[in-house]
Symmetry: C2
C-alpha cells in the first residue's frame, strides 16, 4: 500500500481520526442510553430489563433461548430479569403450543406501555440526531455501525431487519 496514493482518501484513517471515532462512539453511546436510564432509574429496573423488553416487543412470542442468543448473556442472568418482569405483570410467559418445553414471551399491556415510554425517549433523541445530520449522514452512520459489529451480531441484526421490514 503506497502511503498516500490519493491523499485525501486515506487521511481519515490516521490514528488521530480513529481515536476521535472511538471517543465519539463512547460519548454517543452514553447519550444513547441516558434517557431510558433516567426513566428506569425511577423504578426498580435497569438497562437489562430495557433490553429484554425491547426484544420481546420486537419479536413477540420469542423463546428464552432465542432471547439468550440475541442478548448474549447467560440463562441465569436473563432469568433474574425475566422473573421480575413476569412477577410485575409486564411480561407474560406462555407454554409453547408445538413444543411445550419452550416458553413464548409476550408483553402485557403494562409492558407495552413501559416499552413505549422507553423507546419513545430513545427514538426522540435518535430522530433529532438523524434530522440534524441529514439522510446521507444517516446512511453513512448505518454503514459504519454494521461494519463495526462482530460476525455473530451482524447476523442477529440482519435477521431482525428481515423480520421487521
Amino acid at each position: 500500500m503506497p502511503e498516500h496514493s490519493s491523499g485525501n482518501s486515506l487521511l481519515y484513517l490516521t490514528d488521530e481520526q480513529l481515536r476521535q471515532g472511538i471517543e465519539a462512539m463512547y460519548f454517543a453511546y452514553r447519550g444513547f442510553t441516558a434517557d431510558p436510564d433516567r426513566i428506569l432509574g425511577t423504578m426498580a429496573y435497569g438497562r437489562a430489563h430495557h433490553r429484554a423488553i425491547h426484544f420481546i416487543k420486537r419479536a413477540p412470542g420469542t423463546t428464552v433461548t432465542n432471547l439468550l442468543a440475541i442478548l448474549g448473556v447467560t440463562k441465569q442472568s436473563l432469568n433474574r430479569v425475566l422473573r421480575a418482569l413476569i412477577e410485575d405483570g409486564l411480561v407474560e410467559s406462555q407454554v409453547g403450543s408445538s413444543d411445550r418445553r419452550e416458553r413464548n414471551l409476550f408483553l402485557t399491556e403494562a409492558g407495552e406501555a413501559l416499552e413505549n415510554r422507553l423507546s419513545e425517549a430513545q427514538r426522540t433523541r435518535m430522530r433529532a440526531a438523524f434530522r440534524d445530520a441529514g439522510p446521507e449522514a444517516v446512511a453513512g452512520f448505518r454503514k459504519v455501525l454494521e461494519s463495526m459489529m462482530d460476525g455473530d451480531m451482524k447476523r442477529r441484526y440482519a435477521s431482525l431487519r428481515e423480520n421487521g421490514q
Copy 2:
C-alpha cells in the same frame, strides 16, 4: 401507515428506521468493546480500567477531578480503579506542582504498553469499519454520533478534540 408526504427525504425518520438505528447502535457498541474486553478478561481488569487508561493517555497529567468529569462516575468508583492501576505500576500519581492538593496522573511504561495493546485492538476494528464504509460514510457516522451526545458530553468531546488536534 401512508405517511410519506415527500417520500424519500423523510423515509429515514420512520419509527422503523429509527428502531433499526437503535438496534444498530446496540450491536455495534458490543462489537466496539468486544476486543478490549477479551484482552482485559485475561487480567484482573475491566472496562473501567480501560477507560481510565485511555483518558490518562489522552491527557497526561490530568487531575482526578477532571477524569471524574469526563468519565461521569463517582470519586469512590474511580478511586477503586485508580488504586489498582497505581498499585500495579501502570499509573503514576504525582502531587500537583502548582496546587499540591491535586494529583497529576500519568501512565508508566507498563501502562503505555497496555494502553497500546487495547487501543490497537480497538483501532484495528475501527479502521476496518472505516475502510469498508468509505470516507463519506465516516463523515456521516461522526455527524450523527455528535448529534446524539448529551450537551455535557458534547462539550467534553469537543474539548478533547481541540487538545488532540
